[in-house]
């Protein structure tokens, strides 16, 4: 999230919003170009306008969901997210470098992949299984930190392995021939194909590895090569001559060139895309949702409305309880708070129903996660203070009680606006809420360290891939209570039955069966009110007027750059 943007900018924002409304939609002109056709979509330059940079562009160091927005243009992985649709199927995992999404052994502890024929790096050398193995091994090197932790936890010997730079290899990744890779895991992991979408599964040729400098010019296996890279802040990608659609059924790679520009203010990104002048007509928003100013114009400006895409990323914002702190050890108190919460006012605090929808389940409301609807403490849109008071009386607080709600100081979804909305709603139920703000990074450290964790605070969770496992396990698996920090099991729940159900669901390799299991577990956990789910975010993003085939992926909530055309 954009911590660096001065809070002060928000003031300018609000004023701009008013002015934008007053001016109507005069600037944007309709585009009269032919319909999108994949056969003739090639050409032109696509510009991506973003607030945040890409960071170090090394496949070992990147932390992406489903291969990311820009990385997936350069790094092909064993599997990938379904790029071909903006619908719910976008949350499905499909083969990329591999011929299928992986063949599991009986108990899902061994996964075998075969590489497609004819795959090449940007220099024309063939991609072999050893390159995939080496790419993964690099991600274990402490010299290249930052990637997701799963490989270390899942691969046999991963915990001790320190990367290939000191000469050792990781025997649990086998390459019996040039096109076969076999992974041996410590325990059953039905979600392995989802993990294989991460950039760590991109091939890296050992001969071209320059260690920490590799990020400056990583060797491409995808449709574009990096021709200029200013530390991930601005990047230029151009066609990879050795990539063709015949060996990649996921990416269309329409533009000849893609320019990534970051460091822009969110209001500026929206203004530029709305105005769509010059190169901005062929630009998309990289990470910025439309703001109140654009939102206000949409009703009266059909052309602008046609350039806004709505998308979803599986995430839930919630209130977290720490039951080791009184009175949150009392389930009746937690339930009373669940009844008292006014979700509509929380949603208004983060920008209204255009950007968020109320949540009563912890799992996001997408089938891929195993969404199973429930609402055990129905509070309606605006809270049920009477029911909350009743429960408080039962809990031994007939005259109400005083609690403290911790939140971050930045104007974000964990900030003061949400805290104030919760405070007001709980006040109606006789719960006096004292607010306890702390600066963002301190807030993160405090809430993720069990010894300093507050009793009641605002939190959020987004999964690394659209499945119930990475969504529920870090929050509710007792073996994932991290006492040294980085802990997200806020309830510090260590229930043997829950742990066993998580293990059982992790063994399932059939996505439909796994979805049922995760949905059931979520519903069981929901009854115990370990959290109060508040809302699921909705993404609304803008493109320039000459951009075609732009849709938001339901896997990671960003535009799929590999399918966009500017011609």
């Amino acid at each position: 999230m954009s911590k660096s943007r001065a809070v002060a900018a928000a003031a300018g924002f609000a004023l701009l919003a008013g002015l934008a409304t007053a001016c109507g939609g005069g600037a944007a002109k309709g585009s009269a170009t032919a319909a999108f056709d994949p056969a003739t979509c090639q050409g032109g330059t696509l510009t991506v306008l973003a607030q945040q940079g890409q960071g170090k562009f090394d496949p070992a160091e990147l932390y992406t969901s489903g291969g990311g927005k820009v990385p997936t243009l350069v790094f092909r992985t064993l599997t990938t997210r379904d790029h071909t649709t903006g619908g719910p199927d976008g949350a499905k995992v499909v083969p990329d470098l591999a011929t299928d999404t992986g063949e599991p052994s009986q108990d899902a502890t061994v996964w075998t992949y075969h590489l497609k024929a004819g795959l090449k790096f940007e220099d024309g050398t063939p991609i072999r299984s050893a390159d995939v193995k080496y790419g993964i091994e690099r991600s274990f090197a402490p010299e290249l930190p930052g990637g997701p932790p799963y490989l270390r936890d899942w691969l046999i010997g991963g915990e001790q392995y320190a990367g290939p730079f000191k000469g050792a290899d990781l025997p649990s990744i086998e390459t019996p021939d040039d096109s076969t890779v076999i992974f041996r895991l410590t325990k059953p992991e039905g979600d392995f194909p989802y993990l294989a979408t991460a950039t760590q599964f991109a091939p890296v040729p050992r001969a071209k590895d320059t260690g920490t400098d590799y990020q400056k010019h990583p060797i491409s296996s995808g449709p574009y090569v990096v021709t200029s890279n200013d530390n991930g802040k601005s990047m230029v990608l151009e066609r990879n001559p050795y990539w063709t659609r015949s060996i990649d059924d996921q990416r269309l790679a329409c533009p000849d060139k893609i320019v990534y520009t970051s460091g822009l203010d969110s209001a500026v990104i929206n203004q530029r895309l709305a105005a769509s002048s010059g190169d901005d007509a062929r630009a998309v928003s990289g990470d910025t949702d439309i703001d109140a100013g654009i939102l206000a114009r949409l009703n009266s400006d059909a052309e602008l409305r046609s350039r806004v895409t709505t998308g979803y990323f599986g995430a839930t914002q919630y209130l977290a309880f720490n039951p080791t702190v009184k009175p949150f050890d009392n389930p009746l108190v937690r339930q009373a708070i669940s009844y008292a919460v006014d979700r509509q006012s929380v949603i208004n605090a983060v920008g209204g129903s255009a950007v968020a929808k109320p949540a009563t389940t912890f799992l996001p409301d997408q089938p891929a996660f195993g969404y199973t609807p429930y609402d055990y403490f129905p509070s309606g849109p605006s809270g049920d203070p009477a029911k909350a008071k009743e429960l408080l009386a039962q809990a031994g607080y007939p005259n109400g009680l005083s609690i403290t709600l911790s939140h971050a100081t930045s104007q974000t979804d964990i900030g003061p606006a949400v805290a104030a909305a919760v405070q007001e709603a709980l006040g109606k139920a006789g719960i006096t809420v004292k607010l306890d703000p702390s600066a963002d990074d301190d807030y993160g450290t405090r809430t993720q360290l069990p010894s300093s964790e507050p009793g009641f605070f605002i939190s959020g969770w987004g999964a690394d891939w659209p499945s119930g496992g990475p969504f529920l396990a870090p929050i509710f698996d007792g073996r994932q209570i991290l006492t040294a920090g980085g802990n997200f099991n806020s309830a510090q729940l260590n229930d043997p039955q829950v742990n066993a159900e998580i293990d059982a669901a992790n063994k399932l390799t059939d996505p439909a069966a796994a979805q049922r299991a995760w949905g059931q577990l979520d519903a069981e956990l929901g009854k115990q009110a370990w959290t109060v789910p508040l809302y699921h975010p909705v993404y609304k993003r803008l493109v320039g007027k000459d951009v075609k085939n732009a849709y938001v992926s339901q896997w990671n909530g960003v535009y799929d750059l590999s399918r966009i055309s500017v011609k």
Partner: protein, 329 residues
């Protein structure tokens, strides 16, 4: 003159040293762990220790500081684990978070901040001094009151607001200018100027107010002095009196202000850079504070401090040139 320069050089060094010690102390005392930030989710003890060692934060404070000083004077080697990078003196440190030497990161951004500062200074001097002179000569009139109002409003408007409004009107609705993005002067002077026009103007609008007010009051004061009365008695023309005699004396405080402002801006103009999406020194500083990239923070603080100290010395020199009564003590 030489004594003046020597003394200034000595005090500059002292200020730099004190600055660097303070920055180190502040960051060491702060309860942050840059290694954990770099290392990512679920980073365990051994891995964390390796990252800490790579960042150099596993050493005691005095040792970290000593290494820094040593690098500054004699250069040093940085071991990234996979390769060793040599950083020759004056080595301001190495950012492992971006894998670049700090000095390079700063100097790469300097042309942008210099373009921004100098260009804006020209605009605000024209606006500020012009408005100040007019206001002094037309004292009490409607024009003067209007000017005072405008300059006050300019002073009260923060640059991020002026910048956003200018961009929305000039780039969004009227489309007179491109949405600013930095083009180096050496690459295309016209694009350089047209892209920087709005940043210059918005910075200048905010800054000009102070210059207008200072010019006005200093000019009024000078105009009331004896030598001006004498000049008038000799029958010199009003234009010559104001521009040739009074303004020269009135400009000395303006010079001091200008030197300080320029010095400050060369060390980064964070808000202006943010609004216009420029990757300048100010932005780099804020980002580095957020990611606890200590070498970069120390480097920029020293760099900015250096500019301010130098600007002060230059101001003193110019002072002496503008007003012969002031000597270089």
């Amino acid at each position: 003159m030489i004594r003046f320069l020597l003394r200034r050089a000595f005090s500059t060094l002292t200020v730099m040293l004190v600055l660097s010690v303070v920055v180190y102390l502040v960051f060491y005392a702060a309860p942050h762990d840059p290694a954990r930030l770099v290392c990512g989710k679920g980073c365990d003890g051994v891995r964390l220790a390796v990252v800490r060692h790579k960042l150099g934060t596993d050493l005691p404070l005095w040792q970290q500081y000593w290494q820094f000083l040593h690098g500054l004077l004699a250069g040093r080697d940085f071991d990234a684990g996979t390769d060793v990078t040599h950083c020759s003196a004056p080595c301001f440190g190495y950012s492992f978070q971006t894998d670049q030497p700090v000095l390079g990161m700063i100097t790469a951004r300097l042309p942008l901040d210099a373009s921004l500062a100098v260009g804006a200074a020209v605009v605000w001097l024209l606006l500020g001094i012009g408005a100040g002179v007019l206001a002094a000569l037309r004292r009490g009139g409607i024009g003067e009151r209007a000017l005072t109002g405008v300059t006050l409003a300019g002073m009260a408007m923060p640059v991020f607001l002026v910048g956003l409004l200018l961009m929305m009107v000039c780039c969004g609705y009227l489309q007179w200018l491109p949405f600013p993005s930095y083009v180096p002067l050496t690459q295309d002077p016209l694009a350089w100027a047209s892209n920087l026009a709005l940043p210059w103007l918005s910075l200048a609008l905010v800054m000009a107010a102070a210059y207008a007010r200072m010019t006005r009051s200093a000019l009024l004061e000078t105009l009331a002095e004896d030598h001006i009365r004498t000049a008038r008695a000799y029958g010199l023309g009003e234009r010559r009196i104001v521009l040739g005699h009074a303004l020269r004396g009135a400009l000395t405080p303006v010079i001091t202000l200008l030197a300080m402002d320029l010095g400050g801006l060369l060390g980064g103009a964070q808000l202006t850079e943010s609004v216009f999406g420029f990757d300048g020194i100010g932005r780099l500083l804020v980002e580095s504070v957020n990611t606890i990239d200590l070498p970069v923070v120390v480097g920029i603080t020293l760099f900015a401090g250096f500019f301010i100290v130098i600007a002060n010395a230059v101001a003193d020199l110019l002072y002496a040139l503008a007003d012969p009564r002031v000597g270089l003590q």
